[in-house]
Amino acid sequence: MTNYLLSWLIFLPFGAALVIGLIPDKQKFLIKSVALAATICQLIMGGLLFVGFNGGVKPESWATAFQFVEHLDWISLQLGDFGKLQVAYFVGVDGISMPLIVLSALLLVIGVISSWTVQHKVKGYFILYLILSGSLIGCFAALDFFLFYVFFEFMLLPMFFLIGIWGGPRRSYASIKFFLYTLLGSLFILIVMIGLYLSVGTVDQFGVQTNTFSLVDMMSGHYLSDTVLAPGSEYTMWGQSLRYLAFVFLLIGFAIKLPAVPFHTWLPDAHVEAPTAISVLLAGVLLKVGGYGLFRICYAIFPDIAITMAEPIAILGTVSIIYGGMVAMAQNDVKKLIAYSSVSHMGFVLLGLAAITAEGVAGSLFQMVSHGFISGALFLIVGVVYDRTHDRQIENLSGLASKMPRYTFFVVLFFFASLGLPGLSGFVGEVLVLMGAIGAESINGLFPRWIGMVAVLGIIISAGYYLWTLQRMFFGKYWTREADWDARMVDITAREWVMLLPLAILVVLFGVFPSIMLDPIDNSVRFFVESILEQGQMYLSK
């Protein structure tokens, strides 16, 4: 099975969705069980992937950088003078995608458990959920741009319906905003994809040109001579080289997904309306697709522009960190607060990547995984209150610590994890990113130190809003706005324990022993950094 591990991971949920399609609507428990079984299998396979991943060898080139590779021809069309259209089913993982796949597999299980309370249209819900789940993994595993794009788009639709049908009162506004905004992003990506397809490929000894969507070829720089996106090409638009524009397009496309300021306003709306489980997935995994896209496509294919654009990208990250945190402070809805804190924390991903140092890039990846645990848990925590009161306003509750001590324990743990307390996973990601960003000037000189130093203010800002929330909602005298809430304010249930405890353990484990994740990916990260810098300089000199 390990030979086809990735395919199993991707297609098992699709299969399960089919099976659910055959189950009658009324068998709700069976439907849920099938979904749970499928995601648990995914988690087990994710575990196998983690264990089977060999991080001991530093790759020589992009061609050898991937493991668990599967390659099948999928679409092959002769297009006469245009050569051959070649789309492949091409999947594989390296140290950049592997942790994200494992993270997804974990959160998908927790999402199913959290969805256990879904009451109406159960069948549709879980079919969509499973389609989303397969597409997510597909997105992280795809090594063919076309395939990546298919999965990328495939995630959008289930998400749209999951928010639009099972969401809160303003769900239609939120879901359409989410859909259109991210669709806009993917259009930018589509344009670049076509441009890259036209520019990358091989010419055999008979002079037959074969274009390709293979990301590996694109990363390795197998450009056809005199094509639009080849390094050093003469083509320009609006006075800018096409490579530059392509990078900017991709950056916008993925920055929307990440989201980075100022492309972030879809996120709070989507989160507020989404059901808890979908919020968990949205914050925990979907945002990481944006970050992953930056790594795999934006940076790895356009390293030259990544180098020249390092400073504005770093500033964008820092602005996200500070601005997102400050807006979070102003929120009264806990869910919105956490949504904005996600914007702030994803800013670290951008900042660390911009530095292109080993610390920054590893920190950026670590931050993605750690934020997956923490934000997933935070949305579950909001779900606990929302399930009991159908309200999320901070000022409507106080003194919960006296009434729900176990719940408060988790809240304090995850709040402090999110504000970067050492010993918990959030700190490792942030400190690595800051080390990379402040050290960049003396390591590769990509951008000045002050940017990273300003980003350090983020640790004050995040402490500000979390402690303020703790004080207002959890400390002080116990009080609820509506008297009838009181009867429902019971401490966390067994189902909530099952969801929160694994995340709590992981947050502590990754905080104390970050090498669990950092060691296996170390070689990939180092190779990524070196190849970006080398290739970038090479392209720039053309």
Binding site: A330, A362, L434, G439, V456, I459, Q471, D522
Partner: protein
């Protein structure tokens, strides 16, 4: 793992393990479990003193790729670890008595254990990143302890404010640490080497200094420490007197090699300024703990000054002596507070920390009185007490520094000397107001207020440690600390050649100042006058208010928080009204555009098609007239067309 590694792990983790055990076994078992971790830990820490005798224990481990972190226990660390253990042990003991009726006492011991482990980790950490890790954990656990009674809103608020002020300073520290690790390449405390001055070195030094100022409650951060008094009093003894607040001084002591003269000067100035400001604030407080809080800030100011002027060994000495007498004072104050709590526990209006309600307590709390007296005299800097010896070194160091630095530096030194006069003044005032004179409220002897083990033992141990012989044999020799050889291989701060007169002058001046301060306090607060104190209100003069309100630090922070809140509101407004509006505007615009396109499509494009059809129809209809089917008509039309063609070719 090698032997020392196991040993060190045990030393560090035992308090935490004990705390967790106490928590899990619940409230009813607390009396049996509270000391389970501390007793073996204390023994192990004592052994550490001898293990690190020959060479320091160094352990390196990989934590982040490319950065191996490390522990190191040299003599300084070993001594401070033992100190923290000792005080923490006594605090554990005392807390058993102090919190005996609290239903959450098991939670308290878990937090206390967590704090102790964090503090020990900070002392054993060698890599700056590791220092930062434990630095933050210390802050976090103190947040938990200050907010231990979280259901009281003001206590939760105090905890948050204390954490926030620390966090601001920690941002500075983090910048300093990262610069040291990533740019200056000096990650290990034990391997620091002097670096030539450059803007980056200044910046890194200032970052480290800011962190230290925050944790050690120095100007402009000292406002958090009086707030932190919201925690249980034994906690104040441990955290806000002996250990956590000393962390800043400890860090400065460690990083002295890389501090540029600029940063050292800054430290000296800020230390002296804080010492004076806090001493002035201590003069007018009514709350028994607030006096001690400001006095702690003031004494820490001495220590920071000591580092700044280069007398850092004397600072460490003062850290050591201060830990004992201040912990003793806090615990004795705790005994007083506890006494009033037991005496008047039905009366919720009664403030058992307000000195206006006290007076004459020496009769009902004799041991507490004795301890307070001894520790207070040590704090005053009277000869024959430990505080005199350690303060002496800092004062003469400051004087020598001033004489070498320039005229302005004497201002700094003078502030330190003025503080030396103010310290006995507020100490004397407090002792007289609390223990002497006639009781200002009804007091009576209560049984079991000073139980033998849990209260008398810790209090008396700390009081005895404040007597000179436990610091140095010669009560007048500030360089005679018996740990000097162990800590610094006798490379201690001594007046350089030609500066002996300064040491002598300092000595004389200190004696005069401390005795004078005590006398003045007696003049003002002697028993016959202290009765009127029960009606004392809040000072009304501007200087009185400045002192009573602690230089309005809380108000300054509140104003800063207001500014920040305004910025927060502004950015939230911007987010909603500008960015999101723009997004929605794009959405609306695209809807409008598509409506327009629909109209265009329907009216123009479709219209064109319809127009064509209509035109074809028209033409068809026109020409149907021609096709009448009559031969004559056809002939006529043929002629017309023929004519037309001819005419066409003609011209």
């Amino acid at each position: 793992m090698s032997n020392p590694a196991i040993h060190l792990t045990l030393v560090l983790l035992l308090p935490l393990a004990g705390g967790i055990l106490t928590y899990l076994s619940g409230q009813s078992m607390v009396r049996r479990t509270a000391l389970v971790g501390m007793v073996p830990g204390l023994i192990a820490a004592g052994m550490l003193l001898f293990m690190s005798n020959d060479s320091s224990i160094t352990i390196r481990f990989d934590w982040l790729p490319g950065h191996s972190l490390g522990w190191q226990v040299d003599h300084v660390s070993a001594v401070l670890i033992a100190l923290v253990y000792f005080i923490s042990f006594l605090v554990h003991l005392f807390s058993l008595h102090y919190l005996q009726h609290d239903p959450s006492i098991h939670r308290y011991f878990a937090k206390l254990g967590f704090f102790t482990t964090s503090m020990l980790g900070l002392l054993a950490a060698d890599h700056l990143l590791l220092v930062f890790v434990f630095w933050e954990l210390v802050g976090f656990s103190s947040y938990l302890l200050i907010g231990f009674w979280f259901s009281q809103e003001d206590k939760a608020k105090s905890a948050r404010e204390a954490f926030m002020v620390n966090r601001v300073a920690d941002a500075g520290l983090l910048i300093g640490v990262i610069l040291m690790v990533m740019v200056l390449d000096q990650p290990f405390l034990s391997e620091l080497s002097a670096v030539s001055s450059s803007p980056l070195v200044h910046l890194a030094g200032i970052g480290l200094l800011i962190g230290a100022l925050g944790k050690s409650a120095q100007f402009p951060f000292f406002g958090w420490l009086p707030k932190a008094m919201a925690g249980p009093t034994p906690v104040s003894a441990l955290i806000h007197a002996a250990t956590m607040v000393a962390a800043g001084v400890y860090l400065l002591f460690r990083v002295v090699p890389v501090l540029s003269p600029l940063v050292m000067g800054l430290a000296a100035i800020l230390g002296a300024v804080t010492a004076l400001m806090a001493a002035i604030a201590a003069l007018t407080q009514h709350d028994i703990k607030k006096v001690l809080a400001y006095s702690t800030i003031s004494q820490l100011g001495y220590m920071v000054l000591g580092v700044g002027v280069g007398a850092y060994q004397a600072s460490l000495f003062h850290l050591w002596t201060h830990a004992f007498f201040k912990a003793g004072l806090f615990m004795a104050a705790g005994a007083v507070i506890h006494y009033f709590h037991e005496l008047r526990h039905d009366d919720h209006e009664f403030d058992g920390q307000d000195m206006r309600n006290m007076g004459g307590l020496r009769k009902v709390l004799p041991v507490t009185h004795l301890v307070y007296l001894l520790c207070g005299l040590a704090l005053s800097g009277l000869p024959f007490f430990s505080g005199f010896l350690s303060k002496e070194g800092i004062l003469s160091g400051a004087w020598i520094w001033a004489s070498q630095t320039g005229l302005w530096a004497y201002v700094v030194t003078d502030m330190a000397f003025i503080t030396a006069f103010l310290t006995p003044l507020y100490v004397g005032r407090q002792i007289l107001l609390v223990f002497y004179g006639e009781p200002r409220t009804v007091v009576e002897r209560l049984q079991g207020m000073e139980p033998l083990w849990k209260v008398k033992l810790p209090l008396l141990l700390l009081a005895i440690a404040s007597v000179w012989v436990f610091s140095a044999i010669n009560p007048f020799n500030p360089t005679g600390w018996w740990l000097n050889a162990y800590l610094f291989s006798n490379d201690i701060f001594r007046a350089p050649e030609g500066f002996d007169y300064i040491e002598k002058l300092t000595f004389g001046l200190s004696v005069v100042l401390s005795a004078g301060g005590l006398l003045v306090s007696y003049w003002y607060f002697r028993p016959s006058r202290s009765q009127a104190y029960s009606n004392a209100g809040v000072p009304q003069t501007w200087y009185g208010r400045l002192s009573y309100r602690g230089w309005f630090m809380a108000e300054v922070y509140a104003a800063l928080a207001k500014v920040y809140d305004a910025l927060v509101m502004l950015s939230a407004w911007f987010d909603r009204k500008v960015i999101d509006k723009a997004v929605n505007a794009v959405g609306v615009a695209s809807v409008v555009l598509s409506k327009a396109a629909a109209i265009f499509d329907r009216e123009i494009i479709d219209g064109l098609v319809n127009l064509m059809a209509w035109l074809a129809n028209l033409v068809g209809r026109l020409f149907t007239g021609i096709q009448s089917g009559k031969v004559q008509h056809q002939l006529v039309w043929m002629m017309v067309v023929l004519l037309a063609i001819l005419l066409w070719f003609q011209f």
